[in-house]
């Protein structure tokens, strides 16, 4: 009895697809789903005997290859050695601006989030930044962020080799068009609808009339994810990996 594909597994597989072509993926601390996506891509490439994918997970001992202190991630990105990274945001708006600082008038934010971390740099220099936020509500996806930690696009003449590539939420997958600029809904995750996404999104976005459903992984990919990838994930995110394993075995039993 194979357990049915879970929403999380669809997210992980979507991330692996978005990362395809990257040689070096960096993942921030406390990001188990992006980490799993990067590990899945690495495993898939290994199976295909394609060029190895390097995955650097901050805060991990096993998967952190840096030896020059906490500046090295940023140096490495500045050197063009990081192809893909993940950013979230307390608020994300329709032109790809992200806000990691707070709600209301800065500096006396009524809700204060931790802060911008490295976003104000990495968003400029990592070619493929994947915006990942599971919560898909109007308070997250706003018309205009209250504080720009990092802008989605820049004026001509501003040095920029990176920026938003896609936005993945709990409801759907968007691509980002830097020229327009704006998001385009590419697919809706199983169990969700365009109407629901429109209601949950505070900004306008493009979409086709007949929307795709975000694909579920094939059997081989699922096997890799539930095997090798969960094993690797366990080293850095033991709680998360254990939780996924429980889901899978519960699903297999009930299936």
């Amino acid at each position: 009895m194979t357990a049915p594909v879970s929403a999380r597994e669809i997210l992980i597989c979507s991330i692996a697809k978005l990362l395809d072509g990257s040689r070096h993926v960096a993942v921030g601390a406390s990001s188990p789903i992006p980490a799993a996506g990067a590990m899945l891509l690495r495993a898939l490439k290994d199976e295909m005997r394609a060029e190895k994918v390097r995955v650097s997970i901050l805060g991990s001992v096993e998967h952190n290859f840096f030896t020059n202190g906490s500046a090295e991630l940023f140096d490495c990105a500045g050197q063009g050695r990081i192809d893909a990274f993940f950013l979230g945001g307390g608020q994300i708006d329709g032109v790809g601006n992200i806000n990691l600082v707070g709600v209301g008038d800065y500096p006396r934010s009524s809700v204060r989030w931790p802060g911008s971390f490295g976003s104000a740099y990495l968003y400029f220099v990592v070619p493929r930044v994947i915006l990942f936020r599971e919560e898909h509500t109007p308070r997250v996806f706003v018309d205009r962020v209250d504080f720009i930690s990092a802008p989605g696009v820049s004026e001509p003449g501003v040095y920029r080799t990176g920026g938003p590539y896609a936005l993945l939420t709990g409801k759907g997958l968007f691509s980002f068009d830097r020229t327009r600029p704006g998001f385009r809904l590419e697919s809706v995750h199983p169990g969700h609808s365009l109407k629901e996404i429109k209601e949950a999104t505070g900004f306008e976005f493009d979409h086709n009339d007949d929307l795709s459903i975000t694909p579920t992984p094939d059997a081989a990919t699922l096997k890799l994810l539930r095997g090798r990838v969960l094993d690797e994930l366990h080293e850095t995110y033991p709680d998360f990996a254990a939780q996924m394993r429980r889901e899978i075995s519960a699903g297999a039993t009930s299936a």
Binding site: A29, S30, S70, G102, R112, P114, A120, F124, A150, S154
Partner: protein, 269 residues
């Protein structure tokens, strides 16, 4: 060189600029209580490049005038409650930054340069709120190419925790090179350590590679499990339960006060 925590804390004067490391790099939590007991206020904190429990406690104790940081949080235990409250109250100055800008400021100080140029930042509200930063046109570019200059950050004191020091005042920092950057940039550097070793850390090339020389170290004090409840790389893990206990207590000023006056402010041995 080897002295007690209270003696170190007494060297902190009101209005000083203090550099503190990120959660996982070696926070001298053991110094937090002595600093609060000593009570020098109007401190300007520089988080390298982000802050956590120690920053939240110093803010909660009312010692902090401003925080320069890329983020403050308790990690898995959530937001930093006293810091967030102080932001809402407007009772501390905020100098929001981004991680590499903090590193850039320390690097300028390390190099004896007035500033370091860095990419990114253009068009952010971080830059808009930093009147101490400058934007110039890159003189090497053919056409207009705005770039941000971050001025040197010169802390009065850097404070951190490390696994070991030797009898000669050298400190082993391993691959946590940001601790060296903090020390290079700062006038004084206070280090608490798990232990003092007899042999010089510079005696073998292997250990020397991860050693901050005594030249940059002003004071060393022994504080076993001195990062607790944070972990120390290669030594012990973070005590997340304790962080959660703090996070819950410090939601209110009263809860914070109760936590700080409580018995459990030292690690279980």
């Amino acid at each position: 060189m080897h002295t007690d925590l209270e003696a170190l804390a007494r060297q902190i004067e009101p209005g000083m600029r203090i550099a503190l490391p990120v959660d996982y790099a070696g926070v001298s939590m053991a110094m937090t209580r002595p600093i609060i007991d000593h009570g020098a206020s109007d401190l300007d904190l520089v988080c390298v490049p982000t802050g956590g429990l120690q920053v939240d406690m110093l803010v909660g104790a009312g010692l902090v005038r401003s925080v320069e940081t890329s983020a403050v949080s308790l990690g898995e235990a959530g937001g930093a409650p006293r810091f967030n409250q102080a932001v809402r109250d407007g009772s501390i100055g905020l100098r929001d930054a981004t991680c590499p800008a903090i590193h850039a400021g320390l690097m300028a100080a390390q190099k004896g340069s007035p500033f370091t140029a860095m990419r990114g930042l253009i068009g952010t509200d971080i830059l808009k709120n930093r009147d101490d930063w400058r934007v110039i046109d890159n003189p090497f570019a053919q056409s207009g190419d705005p770039i941000v200059l971050i001025p040197a950050i010169h802390p009065d004191i850097a404070i951190f925790h490390a696994p070991m020091a030797d009898r000669f005042g050298n400190v082993w920092i391993g691959r946590r090179r940001e601790l060296a950057a903090m020390a290079y940039a700062s006038k004084m550097t206070f280090v608490t350590v798990e232990r003092i070793v007899d042999e010089s850390l510079l005696a073998s090339e292997t250990l020397a590679a991860g050693t901050l020389p005594a030249l940059y170290v002003s004071e060393i004090a022994v504080a076993p499990r001195g990062a607790w409840p944070y972990g120390l790389w290669g030594e012990y893990q973070t005590d997340t339960a304790e962080l959660l206990r703090y996070a819950k207590a410090a939601r209110t000023a009263e809860g914070f006060a109760a936590y700080m006056s409580g018995a459990v402010t030292e690690p279980a041995q």
